[in-house]
Amino acid sequence: MSRQSPSVRAIVPWPFRIAAWVILFGFTVFTICPLVWVLYTSFKSQSEIMRSLIAPPLVWTLDNYRNAWELGEFSGLFFNSFLYSTVTTVIVILLSVSAGFAFAKIPSRKTRLWYSFFLVGLLITISSSIVPIFVAETWLGLDNTRLGILIPYVAFNISFAVYLAVAYIRGIHDEIIEAAKLDGANYLGIYRQIILPMARPIITTIAIFTFHACWIEYVLVYMISSDSSIRTVQVGVSLLNGRLAFNYGFLFAAIVIATLPLFILFVFFRRHLQAGFSMGSMKG
């Protein structure tokens, strides 16, 4: 606790502090309980789960994880999820930072028009336009292909990435760019030597955010992949549910496996994710 806190906190009346404590503590318990329950149930044997759904395991077992990994064919699913998320992230960064530079620093009526054209894309998601995408992909023969997943992933993540990039690059001082121009640099030179290095923090945010969005995406892959070899972790987990409806231990182990990469992102990049989410609301 910082040093000025006692004097500030001294005037906080006790009903206020108790109310604050109750709201915060209550909501935190509400948040944690289901997560803890999933975690310990995933280490519980089926017979114990049948006896009581809520009791913690008497004997902790890894069987659920072993079975889930093998029956769920998670190695292939993980490969696909990582492939789609990584490739999309790289392409989105390349496209959005260059477009963001143009929108932020090359003022003209045309760039302003194109930028607002992009912003409309913030209002449309893969799920809300899945019918048009599905129809278009079957028409083009892209359904059931990796390309048919990657192209929409790139397109639907570009709007937000461009928005983040523009907001950040606008903050870079014009004087730096003017100075480079006087030194004879053209736009591409400015882009490579000034914008890219200075935009590194926002590139990280875009990367983490895009990777996360791809990792949790479900509707598109579910709709267009009749071939199980191109499916992702999310679709794999959702299909396990149908096959072993009442084996909760097994299902929960799969849930934990599917969530581990997100937990790692959370631990290492929470600040970037929070920045992305709070900027996401301001785009309105």
Binding site: I11, P132, W215, F277
Partner: protein, 283 residues
Amino acid sequence: MLLTGPALFVYALVIVLPVLYSLVLSFTEWSGVGWPRFVGFENYSRMLSDPVFWHSLRNNALIVLVSLIGQIPLGFFLAYILYRRLVRLPAFFEAVIFFPTLLSPVVVGLLFAVVFAPVGLIADLIGKIQGLPLFELLIFNSKSMAIVPYLIVILWMYTGIYMIIFLANLQKIQSETIEAAVLDGASEWGILIKIVMPGQIPVFLTTSIYAIAGSLKGFELLWVMTEGGPSYYSSVLGLYMIESTFSYYKYGFGSAVAIMLILLSVVVIVVLTQVAERLARET
């Protein structure tokens, strides 16, 4: 053009073209094979006279309501408590409440399907408390109540987003303003109402718009959790669109629902943004 061109090309190809394509399809009847047959506004009038459409719209409205009276105010109070450091370990609470926001809708849907199942976690809990080992939770059998479990889930999952948004905005307040108020003998309640709240009004407006947009866009979680069922009791517009298209291969009708969904979100958001901007300018 060299810099914006590639991004623009992908965007137009994948987002704009399909939307225009389904706009055309929405005026036709088409089962996916052969040529679409032009039917004018028939799909739209059929949709507007379908009780499932209206029940789904009602559920969408309830989701918005939960955001407006639940997630947003709660998110604000949580953020305020953390911002004013009214408890110890604010960073811990912030991280825990934010975490569910990151989870995938599929995983959360599966998890809460088990929680609210007839013989799921809640039923088990109630049964243990009341001493009825065979207790079954039948909330999904009620047409009007079937959406309630989902409302609880989104409160659980997404309140953290609003907390983060408010926290980011609260941190923009100059700390001198509050210190001066404290020195002038302002009470904590006075600081909240007179100093902090007025500055957050635009944030309340933008988060409300965000909530409305979100309610129209997402349905994966509900799809995995209830499939809109039983029957159509827990359906929302997004699920109605999926069902109409893929269960009966009525691409024309499904496209009409899709266009309706896109129109609703774009028009509602654009109108609300204008209203919010005018309000913000007047205050």
